[in-house]
């Protein structure tokens, strides 16, 4: 399994190289001149030229790409044009916020989506199934920015139950930075008030993010369960008098989990790529916001860095999903 993982990671290198090339080409095709963007809206021609020279924009694109790759090999993603901070440092600062939100949203997704799918796929209560599946379909189609604003209006604005935006109330100091995920860091530091506040801030964006995922996971699990429940071995188990609970959870679910696992893996990958709208609405300050600002500023190292980081995250999640297949289906072996 370790060898398999290493092999997969090695095959990821050409993909990452391809991603840098494609992103570099696309980023340079974006209309606009980064030198002007860095120099400021009303910069003089002299200022723009000074920037062009300082950042090497006057060199041919192929040379610029070569310089970028040369640095990348040593793990240097360059400096952000707008903040002048190393992109790698900024990614490590912003990523945990997105990771925290993603993990929370995925916990909700799995805890709600999978049981819903199992329930509708294994029980024969037509009206309940139709209702749940209808809600699931609605969930998939719900635009996140709309849902986010409505939730804010109801749960923060009208009812005042939950915080409106941000990761922490302004009156609290972030906990000592270990993982940079406030809930976990607060727990590690034993700061209960900070933990509760950070957790409360997670609820609205987390739910907004999870709704669509819950819906797709429930749909996929439902479809897989319906298929599996029709198979002979399930019928045999039932004929042998195995209790329904064991048939569903012990026999059927295990086989039905493979497509669900794939869906969850894909969803995590997408979420780690930045949840731009949610982050903007809830002032989350994660990788999505970082990407958004970078794109508007034509901040090439940021655009490249975020793309690389999310590609890597996506590939790692895919690898993890593949490895988990082996746990659910012993026929799949990576040795």
């Amino acid at each position: 399994m370790i060898l398999y993982s290493l092999r997969r990671l090695l095959t990821a290198l050409p993909v990452l190289f391809g991603v840098t090339l494609v992103t570099f080409i696309i980023a340079n095709m974006l209309p606009g001149d980064p030198a002007r963007e860095i120099a400021g809206r009303y910069a003089t021609a002299e200022q723009i030229e000074a920037v062009r020279e300082r950042y090497g924009f006057d060199r041919p694109l192929i040379v610029q790409y070569g310089v970028y790759l040369g640095r990348l090999v040593t793990g240097d993603l360059g400096l952000s044009f707008s903040t002048q901070r190393p992109v790698i440092t900024e990614l490590l600062n912003y990523m945990p916020a997105t990771l925290e939100l993603t993990i929370f949203a995925m916990i909700l997704t799995i805890v709600i989506g999978v049981p819903l799918g199992v329930m509708t796929g294994s029980m024969k209560v037509p009206w309940l199934n139709s209702t749940i599946l209808f809600l699931a379909l609605t969930g998939v189609g719900l635009p996140v920015f709309w849902a986010g604003l409505v939730f804010q209006y109801i749960f923060a604005g009208q009812l005042g139950w939950l915080p409106l935006e941000g990761r922490l109330g302004w009156q609290l100091v972030p906990p000592p930075s270990i993982t940079k995920m406030y809930t976990i860091d607060a727990l590690l530091a034993g700061q209960w008030s900070t933990f509760i506040d950070a957790a409360r801030h997670l609820i609205l964006p987390g739910i907004t993010l999870a709704i669509g995922r819950i819906a797709s996971v429930a749909r996929i699990t439902h479809a897989a369960m319906v298929d599996v429940m029709r198979l002979d071995y399930v019928r045999t188990a039932r004929a042998k008098g195995v209790p329904n609970r064991i048939v569903v959870f012990g026999h059927a679910l295990r086989n039905a989990m493979l497509p669900t696992l794939t869906t969850i893996g894909l969803q995590v990958g997408f979420l780690l790529g930045g949840t731009i709208l949610i982050e903007i609405i809830f002032s989350w300050g994660g990788i999505g916001t970082y990407a958004w600002v970078g794109i508007f500023m034509l901040d090439m190292p940021v655009i490249m860095g975020v793309t690389l980081a999310t590609t890597l995250a996506f590939m790692l999640v895919n690898l993890l999903t593949d490895l988990l297949y082996g746990m659910f289906d012993p026929r799949i072996s990576y040795s």
Partner: protein, 520 residues
């Protein structure tokens, strides 16, 4: 299960108790909701980025500064200045009672270093100081600034040159970067507030500097938290819930709605920021002045102010806003006159229309989109089709690098960083700026001469003559359509007072004049 529930409830209760306990002097803390985050705290960038200008004006001092709420420039760190006869050397006398936040004294060396750093980095505020050659400390409290050409805008331009603690920045320079890296998240100022915390894209905290040389009064904020809330609807909700005390607004609709919310006061303040439509004078049929005049007469200026801005703007009068020195008070607001427009089009041989004109505008700016639609509808009445090109700023300016292929029309805003006609007329109208901000591709020898002279003329009477003629030529040649002068919109809780935005720092939040009386 019950035990788990009990533990959870206990934790939540503990949490609340601790949150309540963790609020030091909440009544003296001002919480601001901003739509963007500063990419750096380096005050040199304040000249080109209002997100940086907000912390800068609170953390630093300048030699001269505006009286809050006005465009009147008064001494801040300087006590006086003199100019050599040839106008090439400014000598500034400094106050001797100013301390930096680290307790060291501010002196002439610091001012000289700030100039030297700006000239080396050529960024941000540098755009206002192209004529400055060098600066030197004459003695502890005297600085000489040498210019390569006379610069009549020198004193007002100084309102965005924030003076750095030279020793502190030097100590934190890395590989000849003039402290740029360090200043991204640190400050070296002498202003009323110190930077005490910074969480990128979330919030930054400023706390009052006890030894501030201008002193403190009852009711001033001891602490200011600037929260980044990019979404306007969320900012509004945060204010209504009392989570923030003051917010910047962009939409006139939200402004009108929020005015009726209990406990909230909505405010508008005038600016010098003007919106133009640039007419590409190098592309037919706009190379014909009659067509440009005709097009400038079909736009519904009053409709723009009433509908798009809900009355919260003024119709523009000429190439720059009233309030800028040398503004010609005889200039009337831009107006609509379809009859005259039709006559001019007929005179130009285009009475049947049948033209298609490209118009570039910022598609993500609701005001520009609506303005394009108003123009599109008006143009259709002359048989002219407007083909919209929605672009962001960086793409738009690239479209204009070649005036021969640039769109026929395009929107452009000017946000002056100091009050002088040159800030508008030179970049927009001088022929050397074609391919830069002169979106009209405008070149007129006499106009060039007038504004070139005005740039270095120190005699106010002569400058007045030069700029009066330049304004007349602008109105006659119509390289640009003068649309509206904007106002800034904001809203605050009713216990907040004293927010006085200067037109020179129009999207900047200046905390020192603010009073918090009766904040719960």
């Amino acid at each position: 299960m019950k035990t788990v529930a009990h533990v959870l409830i206990a934790l939540i209760v503990m949490g609340y108790t601790q949150i309540v306990g963790a609020q030091p002097s909440q009544s003296q803390t001002l919480v601001i909701g901003l739509g963007g985050a500063p990419p750096t705290f380096d005050p040199l960038l304040a000249g080109s980025n209002s997100e940086v200008n907000t912390p800068s004006i609170n953390i630093y001092n300048t030699l001269y500064q505006v009286i809050p709420g006005t465009a009147d420039v008064v001494p801040e760190l300087a006590t006086d200045y003199s100019v050599s006869d040839d106008g090439l050397v400014y000598t500034f006398q400094l106050r001797d009672d100013v301390l930096f936040h680290d307790g060291t004294k501010l002196g002439a060396e610091d001012v000289a270093y700030t100039f030297e750093r700006m000239l080396a980095l050529k960024t941000g505020t540098y755009r206002n100081f192209g004529n400055v050659a060098r600066a030197e400390a004459v003695d502890e409290n005297t600085v000489n600034v040498h210019l390569s050409a006379p610069f009549p805008g020198m004193i007002p331009a100084l309102t965005r040159l924030y003076i750095l603690n030279a020793d502190l920045v030097r100590a934190n320079e890395r590989d000849g970067d003039w402290g740029q890296t360090w200043l991204q998240s640190n400050a070296a100022g002498s202003g009323p507030y110190q930077l005490t915390a910074f969480q990128p894209e979330q919030q930054y905290t400023l706390e009052a500097f006890a030894d501030y040389w201008q002193g403190w009064e009852e009711g001033q904020a001891e602490r200011a938290i600037f929260r980044v809330i990019r979404e306007e609807t969320t900012r509004r909700l945060a204010l209504e819930r009392g989570e923030v005390d003051w917010i910047r607004l962009g939409s006139a609709d939200v402004f009108s709605e929020i005015q009726n919310s209990p406990g909230i006061v909505a405010e508008t303040q005038s600016t010098f920021n003007q919106l133009y439509f640039a007419f590409n004078t190098r592309r037919a049929p706009l190379d014909d002045v009659r067509v440009r005049r005709a097009l400038s007469l079909i736009y519904d200026y009053a409709g723009h102010v009433d509908v798009i801005r809900q009355g919260l703007a003024d119709v523009a009068r000429g190439p720059f806003a009233p309030g800028i020195p040398y503004f010609d008070e005889n200039i009337a607001p831009s107006h609509t006159d379809f009859e005259e427009a039709r006559r001019l089009m007929a005179e130009a041989g285009l009475s049947d229309g049948g033209l298609t004109l490209e118009m570039a505008y910022q598609g993500t700016a609701p005001e520009e989109t609506a303005a394009m639609q108003i123009f599109q509808s008006a143009a259709s009445q002359l048989g002219i089709t407007i083909r919209p090109i929605a672009v962001e700023w960086s793409a738009k300016i690239e479209l204009y690098t070649n005036p021969e292929t640039a769109p026929h029309l395009g929107t452009i805003w000017m946000y002056p960083s100091y009050p002088d006609p040159d800030v508008f007329l030179y970049p927009l109208g001088h022929s050397s700026q074609v391919g830069q901000l002169n979106f009209a591709g405008y070149a007129n020898e006499r106009f060039d001469f007038l504004i070139q002279e005005g740039r270095s003329e120190l005699d106010p009477v002569r400058r007045n003559e030069l700029y009066t003629e330049a304004q007349a030529i602008w109105l006659d040649d119509v390289p640009y359509m003068n649309v509206v002068v904007g106002r800034t919109l904001s809203a605050q809780r009713d216990y907040v007072s004293g927010f006085l935005a200067s037109p020179l720092h129009s999207v900047t939040v200046h905390i020192y004049p603010v009073r918090l009386d009766g904040k719960p």
